[in-house]
Amino acid sequence: MNRRNFLKIFALTGVGLAVKPAKSLAALVPEENKTEQAVDLVAVMGGEPDQMFRRAIAEFGGMNQFVKSGQKVCIKPNIGWDRVPERAGNTNPLLISEIIRQCFAAGASEVTVFDHTCDDWVKCYQNSGIEAAAKEAGAKVLPGHQESYYRQVELPKGKVLKDAKIHQAILDSDVWFNVPILKNHGGSGLTISMKNYMGIVWDRRAFHMKGLQQCIADVCTLDKKPALNIVDAYRVLQTNGPQGRSESDVVLSKALFVSPEIVSVDTAATSFFNQIRSMPMDVVKHLGFGEEHGLGTTDLTKLNIKRIRL
């Protein structure tokens, strides 16, 4: 290398370093080259549910970061309705079975799956495909249709909801994962991770009586937080939620959002939904209430987000 060439290269790299890459470009830069900062939220698009989860959990450093050998894990999907997976009423069964497999691979001693369903629980568990998928992956599928499965828990930080009966599978677990599906909801605008908490509670009518949006935020102040909120947006119910009337309510959107920050992951999912159908943040009021409770930020610019396209 002669002196001229050396000076050329020197000048060009100087220019390159001086121009700060735009934020959207940063996502395209291989992640390994970035400075080692903890990931707050991973968003994946364009893959199958299990494939997207494998990619997302890898970004967090693998399941070992959350599940230690011998631990009891509880997974809480949304199995609220007697609907097949194509109708997007419940969390995708492929996603659930992949999470279960990863938990066992990380050394979990037991994985349980349950939901307090709205429709007849036997039919919900069957037709959602979750019971079969979970059992095949080695998990125990627990019922949630009886009050005796729930234990009274105080919620001192709650504004209007001061206590609730919480399913023992959550209370008795070492780690739990909150695995909702992103759906339109007639009452609360959207149902995502925070709204999915209503499935760990026995008396949901109390929520509606006392103010649905505030109660959703209040129950999320439960001390035992999920290790991760894993939002299934593979199929999204854009209208007539949370049940949907037909397949014309469903959009195949192939996305997944994962974060330990519940308010942030729901904010991200809301922004995503907003592209399908207008859904301003202040319609999904419980997000703001959650932020007031200190459950995370709705300002996504403050977070280290990884956006991945498969």
Partner: protein, 547 residues
């Protein structure tokens, strides 16, 4: 040999049908409901002519096989008599009893008269299959469910989740009490006298008994071998063998073959009538089988006609006097009893109304299960066997009291205090043996309107508290309650009764008490719901995260 075959078949039929009534976790395939469908009264009422003819033919050829092998109440009595002998030092010896012909025919007449005059209640109460059904649902099933919960407790303690807890069914004191009284009466009679119920009260027993007199195959005592030891009579649970005379009352014989097996001399034989040697029975009766049936059926229709016209009241009055029962008195008494039971409730409701600012609106027309069609049809066809009550996965179908009037006491109605009707479920319409509920496909069910939604704005949480709710709309499968923009970002339900199918999801979940903001009003005649319009399918291509 015949006896053993009878016992084996009867036990299988009995066990399967009983378990079908108890089986809340749906272990049995749905095809076993065929045992409910071949029961005499439901088949007759639903005009399943094939089944009725088959049962009549079975009786005309072999005798009362229905009573010994198919009828669950009959087999139940056999089980009880058998158990009774375990508690006795000496096996009970039955004795020949005189036929209670007048009583039997009076009961049958009463059943027919009341049924034709529009009061199916008497038939519902006395149909042996339905009686047994109610016993199974209201007495045996709670025990089965409690046992399940016991096992659940035990297994779950060892981290095994094979069993799950269930709410033990209790559908009110009236249905429980009725089942208990039926159980006690039938059990006491069976314990002490064998098949007395079948041969004195049971209307099916009377009809089939009459036919079995004419049956081709009959049990008969061979007078040449008979030494009048009386063993056959001792073992006859129908108490119809007069061993001294060597005669058998075929109208009461339930073809159990106990006599045949008990005879040491092999003197009791089961033969076609032409091979029967001269016995104590009336010979002429046997000879003119076919001719007699025709004659008899003719006279039967005649009496029916007479009753219908109601002008020739002589016969009616006579029979009523004889049995000393008075339908109108019964009706009056039952109304009195029910109203005295309901009165405190009504008063309490009135009180609540005063202290609450809620609009006291509630359902006024009771809701029939899907497939019931119109009220008169449903009330006349349903025998209140409560199979649908037992099978309903949402615990929606519950026995009624006076909601349908006296003629519908105990018939199932839809109530939404425990659950709501699953959109895709058609189980009740499939299992109904009497045709009271027409079998519906899933698509037909989706359009069957059992009732229409009524929205009471003044009671709604969104209106009263100005907070988000939407519980009703959330549960609505057709969006007959649709959340529409209200103040600010609030949404409020908007009713679209045309597309409502009356599943009651909204009424079940509405959190307002005691008067809900939403309920379903029943129909006298079920309607076809308008189909909802699908959302326009948009091709949405997402290539950005949106944040």
């Amino acid at each position: 040999m015949l006896r053993k075959l009878r016992i084996a078949l009867a036990l299988v039929a009995f066990a399967v049908l009983t378990f079908f009534f108890l089986d809340f976790s749906r272990l049995l395939p749905e095809s076993v409901q065929v045992i409910a469908k071949i029961q005499f009264v439901p088949a007759l009422i639903s005009l399943s002519l094939g089944i009725v003819l088959l049962l009549l033919l079975l009786t005309l050829v072999f005798g009362r096989i229905y009573c010994s092998v198919i009828c669950p109440l009959g087999i139940y009595q056999d089980v009880i008599s058998r158990l009774a002998n375990l508690f006795r030092k000496k096996k009970l010896r039955y004795k020949f009893r005189k036929a209670r012909t007048i009583l039997r025919w009076s009961v049958l007449t009463l059943v027919i008269i009341t049924y034709l005059s529009g009061l199916g209640l008497v038939l519902d109460l006395l149909d042996p299959y339905s009686m047994y059904g109610r016993m199974a649902v209201h007495l045996f099933k709670p025990v089965y469910m409690a046992a399940n919960n016991g096992l659940e407790l035990l297994f779950t303690a060892f981290n095994n989740y094979t069993f799950y807890k269930v709410d033990i069914h209790f559908w009110g004191w009236a249905s429980f009490g009725l089942a208990l009284v039926s159980l006690l009466v039938v059990s006491v009679l069976a314990w002490r006298f064998g098949r007395t119920w079948c041969n004195t009260i049971c209307p099916v027993g009377t009809v089939l008994g009459f036919l079995s007199k004419l049956s081709v195959f009959k049990l008969s005592i061979d007078h040449e071998t008979c030494n009048q030891c009386g063993l056959c009579s001792f073992n006859c649970k129908a108490t119809c063998i007069d061993s001294k005379k060597g005669s058998i009352d075929y109208s009461r014989c339930v073809a159990c073959f106990n006599c045949m097996e008990s005879c040491n001399k092999k003197g009791v034989k089961y033969l076609p009538f032409w091979k029967v040697k001269k016995t104590g029975t009336d010979k002429t009766q046997v000879k003119t089988v076919s001719g007699k049936i025709q004659a008899k059926t003719k006279t039967k229709t005649k009496t029916k006609k007479r009753i219908e016209t109601d002008t020739d009241t002589k016969i009616e009055v006579k029979t009523i006097n004889k049995t000393k029962t008075d339908a109108s008195k019964r009706e009056f008494l039952s109304v009195l009893m029910m109203s005295s039971l309901l009165m405190p409730k009504a008063l309490a409701a009135g009180f609540r109304q005063q202290i609450s600012s809620l609009r006291p609106l509630k359902r006024t027309v009771p809701m029939m299960p899907p497939g019931a069609g119109d009220r008169a049809r449903f009330n006349s066809l349903c025998t209140s066997c409560h199979l649908c009550v037992s099978k309903c996965p949402g615990d929606v179908l519950q026995p009624s009291l006076l909601e349908y009037g006296v003629e519908g006491i105990m018939q199932p109605q839809m109530l939404f205090d425990k659950g709501f009707c699953n959109y895709d479920c058609t189980l009740c319409t499939e299992v109904c043996p009497s045709g009271a509920l027409k079998t519906l496909t899933k698509e037909e069910k989706h359009r069957t309107q059992t009732g229409r939604v009524v929205f009471v704005l003044e009671n709604c949480i969104v209106y009263r508290n100005e907070t988000h709710c939407g519980a009703c709309s959330e549960h609505c499968p057709t969006q007959a309650l649709r959340m529409v923009p209200y103040k600010g970002h609030l949404t409020i339900p908007e009713p679209h009764p045309d597309i409502c199918i009356g599943c009651g999801g909204c009424e079940f979940i509405c959190p307002v008490r005691p008067y809900k903001a939403v309920f379903v009003e029943g129909h006298e005649i079920q309607q076809v719901a308008k189909a909802f319009e699908d959302e326009e399918k948009q091709d949405i291509v997402l290539d950005d995260f949106g944040f």
